[in-house]
Every structure is written in structure tokens, then in C-alpha cells.
């Protein structure tokens, strides 16, 4: 026979349906003999019965199902547009790359062949004293050559050293500005040509309108009643074939 304390420990397993058959028998026996445990267990079972069977909750609206179906129609995902996505995913980077390439091409200086080489004539000059090597390590010929070479100050020497680079940068800038200028002229000529075409077309239309207002010009040119505006010259008699072909 189990005690009340032991029986209470078994309540939850019993209510969960996880108690073994032998323990169930023990608990039932205890329940019959102990009114406190009987009431406690019956109270929990009554709670379970009420929760399971008492359907006094408000009912869902009658139109609930229709609302769900309608809302589902609205939310149904569109069929996937695979080609559209492919074009988007592939085309966008390609378009961006093409734009960048075009911008780089436009900003690029002209080809080196079109640039004049920097006309810098190297002069045989000696470095200033501060930059010269020690005389002790130089051969007598080199020292003699060094003494005959005119001396330069440090600024002139630096200018002469950087002259090729400065010249090249100038050429690059000139090339860029030349490309921009050519593009501007091209645009201008295109615009002016378009304007000329428009003006010419407008004039032709005006002339056509003025001519249509004159009498007789609307007549059919193929009408035989109309006089021939230009007399056609008589065609020359074609040579006869027997005259043209001389017997051999």
C-alpha cells in the first residue's frame, strides 16, 4: 500500500498516461481508501473534463473561410520570371561595366603615337657639388672630364631631371583636352547639321505648299491633253544590223 505522499508524486504520471499497470492498481487502491487524495485527483480530472468538453468559447465568424480564401488569392505569389531575373542579374553588371569602360575610354589620353615625343635635349651638365662623388674614388680622366663640365645650381639640375616627366604630363593633358574639344566640335557639327536638315526640310515644305496653291500645277502630268512642256528630241535612227556587220 502506498502512502499519500507517494500517491501525490504519481498523480502527474497517472494523468499523463505514463504510469505502469502495477502502479496504476496501487494508486486506485489508495484512492479508494483516502478521501483527500481522491478529492484532489478528482478535482484535477474535473478541470480536465471542463477544459476538454466545455465549448462555451465564442464561435468564429461565418464568413471566416471566405475571408481566408480571398486573402489567400491576394497573397498568392506571382509565377517566377526566370528570364527576367536572369536579364536583371546578368544585364545590370554588364551595363555597369560598359558604362565604366566608356567613361575610361573617353577620359583616356590619345594613343602615344599621336603624341609628340618630349623634345628635351640632354645637355652634358655636372651635378652640383653637393651631389658629386668624392674625388678620391674617381679616375684622373673622369676628374678631368668633370672639371671641364660646366657647373649647375641645384634648382636647374632638378628642373632638367624632371623636364621629361613634366613634358609628358603636359602632353597627356593636351591630349585629353584635345579629345574633349574634338568631341565638342563633333557634337556641334552634328547639331548644326541637324538644324540645316530641319531648315532645308521646312523650306522644301513651304515651297511645296506655295507651289500647290498655283493653278495648273495640280493637274495630272500624264494627261495627254496637256502640252508637252519640253519637246523630246527625235531619237537617232538605229543602225541596221546588216549595215553594222560588214562581211569579212
Amino acid at each position: 500500500m502506498i502512502t499519500c505522499q507517494h500517491a501525490r508524486q504519481l498523480f502527474d504520471r497517472y494523468l499523463d498516461g505514463e504510469l505502469s499497470a502495477s502502479l496504476q492498481t496501487e494508486l486506485h487502491a489508495h484512492r479508494l481508501s483516502c478521501s483527500a487524495c481522491q478529492n484532489e485527483l478528482a478535482l484535477v480530472e474535473a478541470c480536465g473534463d471542463v477544459i476538454a468538453m466545455d465549448f462555451r468559447e465564442p464561435r468564429v465568424s461565418l464568413s471566416f473561410t471566405d475571408r481566408v480564401i480571398l486573402a489567400q488569392r491576394g497573397r498568392r505569389p506571382a509565377p517566377p520570371r526566370r528570364w527576367g531575373r536572369l536579364v536583371l542579374y546578368v544585364g545590370s553588371p554588364m551595363a555597369a561595366a560598359a558604362s565604366v569602360a566608356f567613361a575610361v575610354f573617353m577620359m583616356m589620353p590619345p594613343a602615344p603615337a599621336r603624341l609628340r615625343p618630349p623634345e628635351v635635349r640632354a645637355e652634358k651638365v655636372a651635378a652640383p657639388e653637393a651631389y658629386q662623388f668624392s674625388e678620391r674614388n674617381q679616375s684622373p680622366e673622369a676628374l678631368q672630364d668633370l672639371k671641364q663640365t660646366p657647373q649647375m645650381d641645384a634648382r636647374s639640375f632638378a628642373d632638367s631631371m624632371f623636364a621629361p616627366f613634366v613634358e609628358r604630363s603636359k602632353n597627356t593633358l593636351e591630349g585629353t583636352s584635345r579629345v574633349v574639344e574634338e568631341f565638342r566640335l563633333l557634337m556641334q557639327s552634328g547639331i548644326s547639321r541637324t538644324n540645316d536638315n530641319l531648315i532645308a526640310r521646312w523650306r522644301a515644305r513651304e515651297q511645296g505648299r506655295a507651289a500647290s496653291e498655283l493653278p495648273g500645277l495640280n493637274a495630272n502630268p500624264l494627261d495627254p491633253a496637256l502640252p508637252d512642256p519640253l519637246p523630246q528630241p527625235d531619237p537617232a535612227p538605229s543602225p541596221r544590223s546588216d549595215e553594222q556587220l560588214e562581211p569579212l
Binding site: D12, C47, V50, A71
Partner: protein, 211 residues
């Protein structure tokens, strides 16, 4: 039998597993009629569960509708080894938790004891005795005092007849935690209803009235 297999409130039978699988497969292909049947066969049970947690008719309907829509929109990922109802209750429960969190953030702490008492059907009130109705109300009030997790575990166990494993699956918690919620809920119900019944006959009368 320890698991309380409840009938649906309107007395209708639940879908068999095979019928449920067939309807889910048809709904997956976009069959509206199958979706309608699934809604009709689950809406009352889901609504009762959600309403018991939220205690608001309008909010409960909104949550139920959202649960159905989410279930239908992700039918592709639904595994046939589970019951559709378990999946639906899982979605509904998570939506309830989100809703309660939102409600807390808007209005502060939620005290379910201050919420209006549940609406009662006039027919039921006439059909049963005044005393039984009073006792049932007290039991439901005690259930309302439980935490959301404990209440959900109790309702799923008794109303839906779910096992502890299914409850754990539905609530997305380990089985030990689900059992703990259920056992603590029973303990709290015992404590709060200890002085409710003066004698054994009252409990028996209540059980008869409930069933």
C-alpha cells in the same frame, strides 16, 4: 483512457490522416476547394485555442486568419509526417506569443485576470444548472491565471488530446519543458481550486455536467 480526445464544438468529426494528406496535397497545387475544406475542418479548434490564450474575439480571428494564410503559403515546406493540425497550432501559438509581446510593448503588462469574462452561449446557460455553470466559470478563471505556456499546454493536452511529445513539438520546446508546464499548471489549478468543492458529490456533478 487518459488522453481526452475532444469532439469539435459543432459535433463534427475530425479529418482522418489520409484525408488530411490528400487535402494538403491538393491545396499545394492551388486547389481552392481543398484549402476551403482544410479551413472548415480546423477553424473552430484553432479559434478556440487562440481565443483561450488571447481572450479577444477580433484578435483571435485575425491570428487564425494569419495562421491559415501562413500555412498555405508555406505548404511546400510542410512535411507529411506531421499532422496539419499540429503545424497549424504551432503557427497559431507563435503568432499569439508575438501578439502578446506586441500588446505588452503597447500597453505594458497584460493582466488576464482583469480581462472580461468569456462570452457565454445563452442556450448552454439554460441547459445546465446554475451551480455547474458557476463551477465551470471558476475553473476557467483558474485556467486564465496560468501563464501563456501553461495554458497552451493544458488546452492542447485536454482539448486537443495531444501527447506531451506533440505538445512539445507544437510549442517548439523540449518535451521535458512541455511536461513541466503541464505539471505546474495542474499544481496551480489544484492550489487555486482547493476550497472550491466542499464534498465529493459536487465534483462528480460537475464532471457529469461537463461531459
Amino acid at each position: 483512457m487518459f488522453f481526452r480526445k475532444a469532439e469539435s464544438p459543432d459535433g463534427g468529426s475530425r479529418l482522418t490522416r489520409r484525408a488530411e494528406k490528400r487535402l494538403v496535397a491538393q491545396a499545394r497545387t492551388g486547389d481552392e476547394q481543398a484549402a476551403r475544406l482544410l479551413v472548415d475542418s480546423h477553424k473552430d479548434r484553432l479559434f478556440a485555442f487562440v481565443w483561450r490564450i488571447l481572450r479577444d474575439h477580433h484578435e483571435a480571428e485575425e491570428i487564425c486568419q494569419e495562421a491559415f494564410l501562413r500555412a498555405f503559403s508555406s505548404l511546400e515546406s510542410f512535411s507529411a509526417e506531421y499532422r496539419f493540425s499540429t503545424w497549424l497550432f504551432t503557427i497559431g501559438y507563435r503568432l499569439c506569443l508575438n501578439h502578446i509581446r506586441r500588446r505588452k510593448s503597447l500597453t505594458g503588462e497584460v493582466d488576464f485576470t482583469e480581462m472580461p469574462s468569456h462570452e457565454e452561449d445563452a442556450c448552454d446557460r439554460l441547459a445546465e444548472s446554475e451551480e455547474a455553470r458557476r463551477l465551470k466559470d471558476k475553473i476557467w478563471n483558474a485556467v486564465d491565471q496560468l501563464s501563456v505556456q501553461q495554458r497552451a499546454a493544458v488546452i492542447l493536452f485536454y482539448r486537443e488530446g495531444m501527447s506531451c511529445e506533440a505538445i512539445a513539438q507544437t510549442l517548439g520546446i523540449p518535451m521535458a519543458t512541455a511536461k513541466s508546464h503541464l505539471h505546474r499548471a495542474r499544481g496551480r489549478l489544484r492550489e487555486s481550486l482547493a476550497g472550491l468543492f466542499s464534498d465529493w458529490s459536487q465534483v462528480e456533478a460537475l464532471r457529469e455536467a461537463a461531459s
